[in-house]
């Protein structure tokens, strides 16, 4: 495979629409993600961010709009969604074929530090471990685009920090593009090259995050970007009435 040009978009979406009856959830969203770019999609509950991701992933036949994806995609959901009747390794191998599947699965599990748990049942794993298996299941497909729907939203705060670190590391190693749906402003700023804010089915803010890696909430510039995003999301500073 030839290295794609840096500017060639891995995902182009035009006029994404979705309505549930009279309620319009997506109101003509355009979105482009460059190869290797990590885009965070922020929004309050009900803003349409998960709906957009599902539409982009092709999981919503009722949605309208045009989606063009160049290369493979993989999805990580908020819940791990592992099949309880398959061992961890078989879950990761789901839908793969070829002679080297076992080796690829083992490599993917090793990358999420679960090399030893391939024979375990999903029910025997902790929440963080299960979510790492879900990441391995996505990773083993060598996606050009990773769609993440609040992937760490159900985890405790400490595990979440570790998972964010893991995701950043994997991104650096594999160079996949990612669309990260989240409601966590810090998470968005720690991981993303660009942040989008969606409100009432429209993208209302598109900001390039020019912060040096590794990022840290106390580094210069982080606080101002954070404040901007929170303002846009309608969260007033502490002590100031909205």
């Amino acid at each position: 495979m030839t290295e794609p040009a840096v500017t060639a978009p891995v995902l182009t979406a035009r006029g994404m629409r979705r309505a549930y009856g009279d309620a319009v959830v997506l109101d003509g969203v355009d979105l482009t993600i460059a190869a290797g770019e990590v885009v965070a999609l922020l929004g309050v509950s009900g803003s349409g961010k998960s709906t957009l991701l599902r539409a982009l992933a092709g999981l919503d036949p009722e949605s309208g709009g045009q989606v063009q994806v160049r290369g493979r995609t993989a999805v990580v959901f908020q819940e791990h969604r592992l099949l309880p009747w398959k061992r961890v390794a078989d879950n990761v191998a789901l839908g793969l074929s070829g002679r080297d599947v076992r080796a690829r699965v083992a490599a993917a599990l090793a990358e999420v530090d679960l090399a030893q748990r391939g024979r375990a049942w999903p029910a025997q794993l902790s929440g963080g471990q299960s979510q790492r298996v879900a990441v391995a299941r996505a990773l083993v497909r060598e996606p050009e685009l990773l769609l993440l729907d609040e992937p760490f939203g159900a985890l405790d705060a400490l595990t979440r920090l570790k998972m964010q670190d893991l995701l950043r590391r994997l991104r650096d190693e594999h160079g996949f593009a990612a669309l990260l749906v989240t409601h966590d402003v810090d998470e968005a700023l720690l991981l993303a090259d660009r942040t989008l804010v969606i409100d009432q089915g429209r993208i209302v803010q598109d900001t390039v995050v020019r912060l040096a890696h590794p990022r840290d909430p106390v580094q210069p510039g982080f606080g101002r970007l954070r404040r901007d995003l929170l303002d846009r999301l309608g969260v007033a500073p502490a002590g100031v009435p909205a």
């Binding site: 099949l83 309880p84 789901l94």
Partner: protein, 293 residues
């Protein structure tokens, strides 16, 4: 400790005997804690055997001493002797074989129809609309009440017994398979789709294994229903099978043979349940693992 013993078996009432027979404190018992399980097995198991053994002894004594009239209820030892005699001359095995053939044929026929229709109704919206309403209506009818109608339809021969067993086995399998397929987490199906699984592959990797626990439950209920149907069916114009053996013995007041027949029915039920539990434990390792953790 007696409280713990109670919880170990109270969750599985029809299988409680089976659970004791295979030496484990019930399928729902804490397999993962060997020390506790061992203590639970050694102490209460003899205590739980006290009353059945005492009852048996009392029965035996009452029979021997003549308190229980021989023609009302013969002593257990008499029943066992009769069993040995009938097993020795081969007639017991012939009757048993005939009954098993009926039960097996009926189960296969009813089970196949149930799996086919259950899958159609569970998987396809059109199938659901067309198949489920009539089945739900028919299920309200106690199938044993159909005997007179069945006699008119298929006669009093072998087809009657097999039809009864098939009908009895059909509903539990259909209903549980249908519910099992309907109950599958759609989020798992969706995740399988994002992994590139086509419709057939999703059926094989998600729907089938997801519905398997319900299918096993249906099968267990179906086998119980099959034995019940057989008991009723074999009381109508039969000249072979365990039911015939009982009916014939009643006419000649051979109470020992009657009781032996009942015992055979009980053992058949127990053995089939044990076999199914064994198969279930093999097929649903992930499920038992879930309960253990």
């Amino acid at each position: 400790m007696s409280g713990a013993a109670l919880t170990a078996t109270s969750t599985v009432s029809p299988a409680a005997t089976a659970a004791v027979a295979d030496g484990r404190p019930g399928g729902a018992g804490p397999v993962g804690r060997p020390a506790q399980a061992r203590a639970r097995r050694s102490l209460p198991s003899w205590r739980r055997a006290v009353s059945p053994v005492a009852l048996l002894l009392a029965w035996e004594l009452a029979g021997r001493s003549g308190v229980l009239a021989e023609e009302k209820l013969p002593a257990p030892s008499t029943v066992l002797t009769t069993g040995a005699r009938l097993a020795g001359d081969g007639s017991l095995w012939v009757h048993l074989g005939d009954s098993l053939t009926r039960a097996g044929t009926g189960l296969v026929l009813g089970g196949t129809a149930a799996v086919l229709l259950g899958a159609i109704a569970g998987l396809l919206r059109l199938g659901d609309d067309l198949v489920d309403p009539p089945v739900q209506m028919a299920r309200m009818l106690p199938h044993l009440a159909l005997v007179p109608l069945l006699i008119i339809w298929v006669g009093i021969g072998e087809s009657l017994k097999i039809s009864l067993v098939a009908l009895g086995a059909f509903f539990p399998i259909y209903l549980n398979l249908y519910a099992g397929i309907r109950g599958i987490d759609q989020r798992l199906v969706e995740a399988a789709r994002t992994c590139g699984l086509g419709q057939l592959a999703r059926l094989r990797h998600v729907v089938l294994p997801g519905a398997l626990p319900s299918l096993f439950l249906g099968l267990r209920l179906a086998i119980a229903a099959a034995w019940l149907s057989l008991v009723v069916g074999e009381q109508v114009a039969t000249d072979n099978g365990v039911g015939f053996m009982i009916m014939e013995a009643r006419e000649f007041s051979q109470t020992d043979v009657v009781v032996l027949g009942l015992l055979v029915y009980a053992v058949l039920g127990l053995l089939s349940d044990l076999a199914l539990r064994f198969a279930e434990r093999r097929a649903l390792v992930w499920h038992t693992g879930l309960r253990a953790t």
